[in-house]
Symmetry: D2
Subunit: 508 residues, 4 copies
């Protein structure tokens, strides 16, 4: 729910929030979900399918709900709820493999371990539960924190990783294929504990924060800060802040420069190829492709496809990005100029109804349509669910939509994010995200009280640079240091930050 839900209810003392647009929100949900009786708002991202992580996970036939069976780890601890504790060994190996590609967190363990900067921290987290998250959690623990964790998505949990975490003593409440009721139950189990109260929140999507606002508003008295990962969650926080209802400082780690560049330009450069190949085996050479939107995501897609020998057209609304597309060697067109001739259509706009039925009616037979943007609104998929069109599921995440005359278009992931659904996110990108989260937690937890008010903050530039620097050894990359004389000449501190305050990642 891209920017739509600012609605938090609180009966507590400090913050008064109301459900303002719940009704509107419900109308926006996909049919399948809205048929269920939802007693609570759930972030849309929490029900997105999440392809790749799931692929390593067992498809055990045991249909008993984890909530209905009691499990203990080898030390007798039972304060968790997961699919199957017996998968712990397999999960541990996955975690070890992930550790090898997350050197920054491992370095953080080493550098900061002596001082335990998170000693006393009681972190409640709600994120995807994957091997990479496990490396983060075990790092937080090594730095002194206690952690309780739930999943931010009902499909994305790697059961064997959850098992390994439970075996390692973490209180994890998550499994792949939770119901919506399970989803909130797990979150509640994380925070509603006798004799333990969180003092830090790590959230991805805002559902955990929402739950505490709604059910346990008084908890915020002890909470030192919120670290939020997602666009949606950050949007909620800004709206809370604007409304004067944000009770604690919050760190927006979504917009850190390093994360942005990696999540968008560099990651999409690879995942557009991966996502298309895994779903369609299409040969890129010689294909005509139109990419809608030339922001960082579009730039990444265009660069990759051009490099593979595709002929790429670009559409844009912003003349500055448009001029960049021209200079980068792409014909700037309106969609209707090329829609009949292209083999692949990719949306990267963040906008809605970019590819509408009228365009799809004019596509040629076999045209592939997919979305790399920030939401599932870019392709008007609903317009394809009409009686005269036949849908044929040809592979996982691949539908043929067939016109009466036999023409078929190939729709990927039903218009949802291709790179989340049909490709994997490299561990290296997740490492940057996880490191940023860890540093944000450390910063908020240790900052003198005056530093952060009840507002939403970006990660300090210097810490952003620190995240980047922790990832350089992976590439055996050697940074040059300024001499005193040079630092003075440039008016910079030798240790950074090296960029002015107005520097932003989003500049395209």
């Amino acid at each position: 729910s891209h920017g739509s839900r600012s609605v938090f209810l609180s009966s507590g003392n400090s913050c008064q929030i109301q459900f303002a647009d719940q009704k509107q929100e419900f109308n926006k949900r996909p049919t399948k979900i809205s048929r269920r009786s939802l007693s609570r708002s759930i972030s849309q991202s929490s029900t997105d399918s999440y392809g790749s992580a799931a692929s390593y996970t067992d498809s055990s036939d045991d249909e008993t709900s984890p909530r209905d069976k009691q499990q203990k780890n080898s030390k007798g601890n039972a304060d968790f709820c997961i699919k199957n504790i017996k998968q712990a060994d397999f999960g541990r190996r996955e975690i070890e493999i992930a550790e090898q590609e997350m050197p920054a967190l491992m370095a953080l363990r080493k550098r900061a371990q002596g001082e335990k900067p998170l000693a006393g921290a009681k972190i409640v987290g709600c994120t995807h539960i994957t091997a990479q998250t496990a490396v983060l959690m075990e790092t937080l623990s090594a730095l002194g924190a206690q952690c309780r964790w739930a999943a931010c998505n009902i499909y994305s949990t790697q059961n064997e990783v959850a098992a390994a975490l439970a075996e390692g003593g973490f209180s994890v409440f998550a499994w792949k294929g939770e119901s919506e009721d399970d989803f909130w139950w797990c979150i509640d189990r994380c925070v509603n504990v006798e004799g333990w109260q969180p003092n830090m929140i790590l959230d991805d999507g805002g559902d955990l924060t929402h739950w505490i606002y709604k059910k346990y508003p008084s908890m915020f008295k002890k909470i030192k800060g919120i670290v939020e990962e997602s666009v949606t969650g950050v949007h909620r926080l800004y709206q809370l802040s604007k409304a004067g209802k944000l009770c604690v400082p919050a760190m927006n780690v979504n917009d850190s420069v390093t994360k942005q560049k990696f999540d968008n330009l560099y990651c999409c450069r690879e995942s557009i190829l991966d996502g298309l190949k895994r779903t369609t085996d299409v040969m890129f050479g010689g294909k005509q492709v139109v990419v809608c939107g030339y922001g960082e995501v579009g730039k990444g897609c265009c660069a990759a496809l051009k490099a593979m020998g595709s002929i790429v057209y670009v559409t844009e609304i912003d003349p500055i990005c448009a001029l960049q597309a021209c200079m980068d060697g792409f014909r700037l067109v309106k969609l209707n100029e090329v829609i009949r001739q292209v083999d692949i259509v990719i949306t990267c706009t963040g906008n809605k109804n970019v590819v509408v039925r009228e365009y799809m009616d004019r596509m040629k037979n076999g045209c592939i349509v997919c979305n790399m943007g920030h939401s599932n609104t870019e392709i008007d998929v609903a317009s394809l669910r009409t009686p005269e069109l036949t849908w044929e599921r040809v592979r996982s995440q691949v539908d043929h939509v067939i016109w009466p005359d036999g023409k078929r278009i190939v729709l990927l992931a039903e218009g949802r994010l291709l790179n989340l659904s049909c490709s994997t996110v490299p561990t290296f990108v997740l490492s940057i995200t996880a490191t940023t989260q860890a540093l944000a937690l450390i910063e908020l937890y240790n900052a003198p009280e005056a530093r952060y008010k009840q507002d939403v903050y970006l990660l300090p530039k210097k810490m952003d640079e620190y995240v980047a620097s922790l990832h350089l050894p992976t590439f055996d990359a050697h940074l040059t240091e300024l001499s005193d004389e040079q630092a003075k000449y440039l008016g910079l501190n030798k240790n950074g930050p090296f960029k002015p305050n107005y520097y932003r990642s989003a500049a395209a």
Copy 2:
């Protein structure tokens, strides 16, 4: 067995061939296979695992051998042996999808259908049995031919496609997971038929040709020619020819210019990325990679990885290719100069023992090792099967080999071809191959007797150009025609061939 097996036995009248090096051959086989008691030589490629095609195939629990159950198609025909005729509908859809990406064959059907250039042809074929092959077979049929078909690989058959072909009236003998005995039984069922004798052979690997030479040499009296697809099979044919034992004309379609460029440069440019991503999810950006060999395959790999932001080193033995690597922007090194620092090692040499144990001992933790060359000899995998090293299968086609100190390298496809095992071959590439095969069959079948002797021929340049031209409409590509004046100036026929005889694809 890259160039090693020239061994055909014939008791027939026209050709005397002996098992010359069978013993040597057996020693070369991988352990697993040579443990089995092999009563006959089988091409190594026939037992290669064949990943991608298999992925769409059912994993039915029915363990009855197809040889033990009688099946009929809907018209009561039972002259086939496949897994399950009930899968025909599903297979038909796969064929229809493939048809959309094989426009050249479809055009061939249209253009040549009137004249039925293969009327009277009785073709026995032995190739991978996939949707793309089905499009070829149905094209041959549309051109007038009768076809009987077996699989050239015990793993690669798409059962549902075989079912669709059987349902369509083709005599197909193939299923996924044949035993070696099954393999030869199927081939025999194709040729050993009462009242039907083949007059054309389409082979991929030389096993079918070998079987006829061995068992039914007299059949060659009626056979007008052999079309052979593979390096191995072509090598066998050249050796037969050299030995004066080739009884009929043979067409080497492996070395057609169009096929070479596509199979090597363009296909590898895409499949190296696809193969690495599907197996390891590695992020390419910033990775240090060494590519051994800078022929067409190496050039494709290097170009793709460079475009994705990898830092690529090249090794070469040939100074001309080496100089090209330099001019293309790659550091030319010896493997030992960079082996400690690289993240990925890719072999593309066609040579043996390029990556030996000594190098693998010095690789860094997590180094990925894979082979894109022409054989499975490039990486000395045998040297890794020693007691002190632990093998851990982490995913299909992915092994971690772990040293005593904990270092692990990531070995893909056990050193076999990455792009066959771990990625898919785009239909477009297969379309070029299939079209070339069809044209070669037409040429050999219709050529006046004097044109071809008992020798191995390359596809005439003009037909090679014709294959290319049939694929241009896919790209909406418009060829320019020479004016009479220009043709005269250049000394060319307006319709080609446009290249001199000495033109070869292999030139790097």
Copy 3:
């Protein structure tokens, strides 16, 4: 004098400014210049050599100073001072050629001509006087303005263009090869006119502004605003503003997004190749190059050289840019790691003493050293002016510096900006700059008084986007328009601006 001179003297009533650091300033000047007795401060850029523009200019033997001869144009007007009015026809043709590549200004003439948005404007300008500037001046005139103009650089004037302008009725005071005294005399002639007082300033380098501050401070009473083009001039303005001494609104057009991207990334991508080729004819393929600094300029240089087959290393101080270099496929090193092996060294840092003598001592024979950064301080050229080294001028802008052992390095443009000295700036880039200047003048001249205070402003985002949009027709590029629904969804005005306020070009 990158950021060093904030020194304006004013005896006027409104603004009290003092020479604060004149002494320091003088010490920073290159030896050659500081040896001259300078009675006034002159911007360093005003004496930079300026290669390309000069190359089309006559090298007439007439050594009479233009100040000493009276000339009239064909209408009898003599209010100008240029080299030779007879060259007007040749200059007119150059202007006409430039017009063809400056469609944005031509469009501006058409669109805005009806309303004459500069009616009443009296603009005094001090810029390079080239064909492109002439197109700007004639556009300003067409929009209603009166113009008087001097050169901002003593070498860069295209005499024939100045002649054409004079013939066309413009009061131009400029010629190629002015002395420093000439330089200020020309500026004075522009402003010190009976019965005419400027109400707008267009400056490039700040010298004109400085002169008015110093000599005619009361003029500022009537001046509505300053438009400043250069880094140096903008820096001066910010310092004035900081000191509370800026008397009128000023528009910093140097930092407009469009200009930045073009001046840096896109322009340098081409000019690095051009500059190196014209001076050294070096073949790029296979060359090892180190680029110091991975900002926009460095990114442009690296991309171009990589594309031409060079092997490129990068040095950086900022971990974020460093990580980008890694992801873009460049080895990140310290200069000393590669200094012995590289063939070309390029500085793009904006820093000082990046390439010092110690490094140059270790370069290999024939190494090319040049500067693409923002100042001439990056290479420590002074350190090469020692007795044991021999300088040999081998071509214009190319020196061999020879070590006692015979090793020579190839120093380009004596360490000054390679792209200004040794390549040309494409008209298209100048078109963007000129259009931005024109729009800034219109904005400042027409803005309601309350809109701009006595401060330095960036061009409003919307006008930046307008400049970009005016250049799209050159590429036959078609912008997509938001629907009402989409604009609402995104929270944007349909006509832009499309970027948030914090959007900046500098983001790397």
Copy 4:
């Protein structure tokens, strides 16, 4: 005269050759030249303008013909005829600079010096006389040869280099700006010497060979072989051979693999940018370009322009090259589809009348037209020399051709080769050529008599590889050596050749 002149007259005993098509030849000459009374055939290339080399040369005012003044070098030797012996020092420096970029020849001096493989060789040469040729000549001398030399082009001689050679004792007869009579006089002075008779010929264009055939056919009795550099000269030799009139073995070094790749793909990749930039200062980013022909030259041009952000269209007649263009990401079109929209037209076909008047009539205003192919016939320049069109020379090598409606196209080098006329050939490319020439001379001079008959030969593959290997150290490139086991496996000699006989460079 691309392939037109097979005409050699011989009155000698061994070879009877006649002027077959002289008349036709004369009609093909450019007007300016054919106006002169030509008493002899001269290769067209000998009168091509030759831009870059000339740029370093003095434009001395001394108009005395070198033939009219007697000069001596410092040792009193007068057996030469050049512009001005006093320029020897300046020329020597140019030679020394060239030596630094011709490491292969320098290595050859070292390696072969001991054995003097050219001891006794008397070489007469006719090539461009540049610093690079000087390095070749001094290498030949160091290897034991005596040399006499003339220029193969009337414009290309670097006078100061000729002076340095004369000062060094070489008998050089050449200056910049020879008349046609001078041209043949110089050649004659080389061969018509008392007491000295050449036994080897090194030719570039075939004029020297022609002269000897015509004037001194008996000389061939002592001549061991001809080494010919140019397409034209090679063509003449093949025709002689075909006609049975070739008296001695000849080595075609034009078609060596290494030279071809460098002269075409790699050199054009750089020179297309350089040539366009130096003449027009055009910005490449966003420009629409059509490249006619996708052989090696076209591939180089396309790759470079695509890399610089141009949008490139390709035309082709050959479906195989066409398919490659598609796979490389270029739209394949007919010229008339894009002629109205493109900004730049580049011919690379080797064909004639590719860009005819009809197309030029439809080009848009400002369109740049140039030729990178093998002859000056590709653009129908003659069709532009009509009364209604106005020609305006705007710079050296740049003409505006202006239509009655004011539209102008920008024609470069009057349709002659852009890279010869408007850019420089990198020394590195010339180094490959010169090394190939030296090795060919050594081979022919030392080969046992039986090895070469009176025919035209390609450089043996192994020597081609040797040339390449001598250039690898420039790139600090390290070649891998085959182990004995690997060589055996591949069926190769460890020292090469590594490519089969049918391997050719031209395959693209």
